[in-house]
């Protein structure tokens, strides 16, 4: 069998990614038709930059979602005779599987295309989740620090600056080490860090529905149940049903990434809070006799959402790059894992001869981060138009 021509290759890639195109067209059609009713999200479709960014991000989100439909081979399987095969090479012995390596083979004869697609799933599973937890921690601590101030503020700011004074890379070397994994340190840190989101939602709902005990009990109860269930699984690997869980390795990486990101978010939230708390509507709420948590979570936070959403997008991108850095130093993430950082690191050694193995994940990583940055830019522009 001959290798595929470039045109043929592109056609096959297009067909392989069909589910993604369908989903993208559907989302864009829907969004553009109803953009007037969709608030900030709808206004995103007024800006070209924002739309391009959104399209790039959603491309990878859908790729990750439909990854099992898209891949042509098992991302971990090795095929004899396919070491460093060029893009479009026919598989020597397909045994009923897909007959070509669309983007070639890597140094261990695995399909680069399938690894890139599954890598999207790996990356999008960790980065946004880590950014989200960082945000909840930053918000839960930043709001009171800015709003209440005093000793609490001084203490929290000192701790945040302490973490920020640490070079990120040194922290990773120290925290994401196999020796540390076997100690209680990651578990303890996870125990503290993962508790924050549960507390956040509990307080959030409690403050909102304080006056309606029935509703409150229901919501808070539900949050506590789901939250603590996930918490036991994620932080202590003690989920009785076994739904939630993280390998010690992943937990270690996750905790380190959250730990590094949370202080920056804290500083941003604190700064915005200091600004917003002098506004009239906050004073109005205070005169109404609302509790401090209600004011922080339901008056200040919604008004701070613009810059926070923008930073959230940027932070996902930054976290993606950070995870790649870990891969570069061979820290953290599991071996054989198709995540982009590790695949770039493995492929780069042979870049001058077999560039495809490193370039595919590198382009993927860059386009995702670029998309997130453009999306953030679009959102910023549109939110400033208020």
């Amino acid at each position: 069998m001959d290798s595929l021509s470039w045109l043929d290759l592109l056609g096959r890639l297009f067909i392989q990614l069909l589910p993604v195109w369908v989903a993208l067209v559907a989302v864009f059609a829907f969004s553009i038709i109803y953009k007037r009713r969709l608030g900030l999200y709808g206004r995103l479709f007024e800006s070209t930059v924002g739309m391009i960014g959104f399209a790039l991000v959603m491309f990878w989100v859908f790729t990750a979602l439909f990854a099992t439909l898209i891949i042509t081979h098992d991302p971990l399987a090795q095929f004899s005779g396919m070491r460093n095969a060029a893009p479009g090479s026919p598989v020597r012995d397909p045994a009923g599987g897909y007959a070509y390596f669309l983007l070639g083979g890597d140094a261990l004869a695995r399909d680069v295309f399938s690894r890139m697609v599954m890598g999207a799933r790996e990356v999008l599973r960790i980065a946004p989740f880590a950014a989200m937890i960082s945000f909840m921690i930053g918000i839960s601590l930043g709001l009171p620090a800015g709003y209440i101030g005093g000793k609490l503020d001084t203490g929290l700011t000192f701790i945040a600056n302490l973490v920020l004074a640490f070079p990120v890379i040194l922290l990773f070397f120290l925290l994401v080490a196999p020796e540390i994994q076997n100690t209680a340190i990651p578990r303890v840190m996870a125990g503290i860090l993962f508790l924050m989101p549960v507390l956040f939602f509990t307080v959030l709902l409690n403050a909102r529905f304080f006056t309606q005990p029935m509703k409150r009990n229901f919501y808070v109860g539900a949050v506590l149940m789901i939250g603590l269930w996930a918490y036991s699984g994620l932080a202590f690997n003690a989920d009785p049903l076994g739904v939630w869980g993280m390998s010690p390795n992943l937990l270690n990486v996750f905790v380190a990434v959250v730990f590094v990101n949370a202080p920056t978010v804290f500083r941003i939230v604190r700064g915005i809070t200091l600004d917003i708390k002098t506004r009239d509507y906050v004073a109005a709420a205070q005169t109404r006799g609302e509790g401090p948590w209600y004011i922080m979570l339901w008056e200040i936070l919604p008004n701070a959402r613009g810059p926070l959403i923008v930073d959230f997008c940027l932070r996902i991108g930054y976290t993606t790059i950070l995870l790649g850095t870990l891969g570069f130093f061979g820290l953290g993430v599991a071996p054989e894992s198709p995540d982009w950082g590790s695949t770039i690191n493995q492929g780069r050694r042979l870049l001058t001869v077999y560039p495809h193995a490193a370039l595919a994940p590198a382009v993927a990583l860059m386009s995702l981060v670029l998309g997130l940055n453009l999306l953030a830019d679009g959102l910023r522009e549109e939110s400033l138009k208020d």
């Binding site: 971990l76 399987a77 090795q78 004899s80 005779g81 070491r83 460093n84 140094a107 261990l108 004869a109 695995r110 080490a177 196999p178 020796e179 390795n249 061979g330 599991a334 071996p335 054989e336 780069r348 050694r349 042979l350 870049l351 001058t352 001869v353």
Partner: protein
């Protein structure tokens, strides 16, 4: 090349026996040379027994002078007897010399010794020192210096002194045995072994056996470079590089047969071969220390041809039998059956070696018995794993983060996975990996070559041995191994060996995918710098043409 004279001594009886076996084809030439020279037969004589002429140095004439720049890890120096990396020894080879040396062709050549002789049952060795050797501080090299070194080697109380194990026939209770070394005169000494040991002279060629001056305190041989060789260190920066230059204040005993280069610069460029490649392309290095995988060809492409050494070095992907589920022989055998060694060699090591047979005895070993190997049968493997109730069990294969070792284990894991068995990989950084290397349930370890097949088996698979990482304990195996150790004749030993190898296969001790060839890449202009099977860098003989 090395050209040393040796007085004609009566040939050892066993050496003639070996020569006959070699001519009959039952003993490999390499093995014959190793064993005959170990018994004190000079290399030309050993070649002569086979009716051959000893190979001469290559025709290209070495030129005096020049600088060689070589990529090599520069690790923090320490007491030579505790060296655990060949690189540590290679830096010091220019001034710290050895009593004997192990050559690429398998012979053992005298260096600071002139000759040696063993009695018939290899329990008494008479060592004759080379005369006219001086230390670079002016002292004359004498038998008492050698005795001092042997005493140092025997001291097991020093952490990490690996010579202690090699000299066990001379020691007692972790110290040199009283009366084990007898100084006959200034240039002669006699070793009295507690048991026959034909490997004791070969062991003196091992890299930790560098001969140091009596004034050496046991710390850093670079800081206080008293030695017998023609070079001296100029600088030594751990992790960065080292510079060696010819010592103008010292007359080397082997003047004229080496010390061609003025200066040797070692560059430590980290562990990433891509960085070495970039350095070679930029013209910053002329030679690599060891190249693996794809890089062997890549360096060749940019003008650094490869030099190959065929060895019995390997990667042992072993199970630790003291830990569940690997205490179950069916599990071990099933995992072996799931792996096609030929594919691991292709994908994990770029086909740069030969397929091995899961029993850690190499066809280049004289006593190797061809008994076949485990059959490759992934379906049966899956069924066996399921029968043991482990269908949902996730196995874990641990390896060090070194490039080729990790790739090989990835290949092994991919094969096991392809058979429908769950497995995950774990990679540990070099500094961490060794913390627990003996106790990982399922992991890989690099084993360098030993001239004899029984040597590794003695080290790694005998019950209770310090390096028995497989946790293998089998009384029958131990008894057979003892028997094999006492048989000098390779044919007779092969019969016992067949049984030993069969036990290793039946017990599913390890997955051993391949025997690897070693490579280095160097520019055409560098002479005498072929890859050495035990990674030696004898820059005192290297030259530019």
């Amino acid at each position: 090349m090395t050209r040393k004279t040796s007085k004609s001594t009566p040939l050892h009886r066993a050496a003639r026996l070996f020569a006959r076996e070699c001519k009959d084809g039952t003993l490999s030439r390499r093995e014959f040379l190793t064993r005959a020279t170990a018994l004190g037969v000079a290399a030309p004589a050993a070649y002569g027994l086979l009716g051959l002429v000893a190979p001469q140095a290559r025709a290209q004439t070495p030129q005096m002078g020049g600088t060689l720049r070589m990529q090599m890890d520069i690790k923090a120096q320490r007491d030579p007897r505790t060296w655990d990396w060949s690189e540590l020894a290679n830096v010091c080879r220019g001034w710290l010399e050895y009593l004997v040396s192990y050559e690429r062709d398998g012979t053992v050549q005298p260096v600071l010794l002139e000759s040696w002789e063993a009695n018939d049952d290899a329990t008494i060795y008479t060592l004759k020192l080379r005369s006219g050797v001086t230390w670079n501080n002016g002292d004359v090299f004498t038998a008492s210096h050698v005795a001092h070194n042997i005493e140092r080697w025997c001291d097991a109380s020093v952490e990490g002194n690996s010579m202690a194990g090699r000299m066990s026939a001379l020691s007692d209770g972790g110290k040199l045995r009283e009366g084990a070394v007898e100084i006959v005169d200034d240039l002669t000494l006699r070793l009295h072994l507690s048991s026959p040991d034909i490997s004791i002279i070969v062991n003196m060629a091992d890299y930790p056996a560098a001969v140091v001056h009596p004034s050496f305190t046991g710390d850093d041989p670079v800081a206080n470079p008293i030695g017998t060789g023609p070079y001296r260190p100029v600088s030594h920066d751990t992790g960065i590089g080292a510079v060696i230059e010819r010592n103008p204040d010292h007359t080397w005993w082997n003047e004229g047969n080496g010390a061609y280069l003025d200066r040797i610069e070692f560059l430590d460029l980290g562990t990433d071969p891509a960085a070495w490649m970039a350095a070679a392309e930029g013209g910053e290095i002329d030679m690599t220390y060891q190249t693996t995988g794809d890089f062997v060809d890549l360096f060749e492409m940019i003008g650094l041809p490869k030099s190959e050494a065929i060895t019995a070095s390997t990667l042992a992907v072993r199970f630790n039998q003291t830990q569940a589920p690997y205490d179950n022989v069916n599990v071990r055998r099933a995992l072996q059956m799931a792996v096609n060694n030929a594919i691991v060699l292709e994908l994990g090591y770029n086909d740069l070696g030969t397929v091995a047979e899961n029993h850690h005895v190499c066809p280049i070993h004289p006593e190797y018995a061809d008994i076949g190997t485990t059959s490759f049968d992934p379906e049966a493997a899956k069924a066996m794993i399921a029968a043991e109730g482990l269908a949902d069990h996730e196995f874990e294969l641990i390896s060090i983060d070194d490039n080729w070792q990790a790739a090989t284990c990835d290949s092994v894991a991919a094969q096991i996975r392809a058979a429908g068995i769950n497995i995950k990989r774990t990679i540990l950084p070099g500094a961490t990996f060794w913390n627990d290397w003996l106790n990982y349930p399922f992991s890989s370890t690099e084993w360098n070559m030993r001239p004899l097949g029984v040597q590794v088996l003695n080290l790694a698979y005998r019950s209770g041995e310090a390096w028995n990482e497989a946790g293998f304990s089998n009384a029958e195996f131990d008894a057979l191994l003892d028997e094999a150790n006492g048989i000098a004749d390779a044919d007779a030993r092969r019969e016992v060996m067949a049984k030993i190898q069969q036990i290793l296969l039946d017990e599913g001790v390890l997955i051993q995918p391949y025997w690897r060839s070693l490579y280095r890449n160097k520019r055409d202009t560098i002479l005498n710098a072929e890859m050495h099977p035990t990674f030696e860098v004898r820059y005192q003989h290297y030259a530019l043409s």
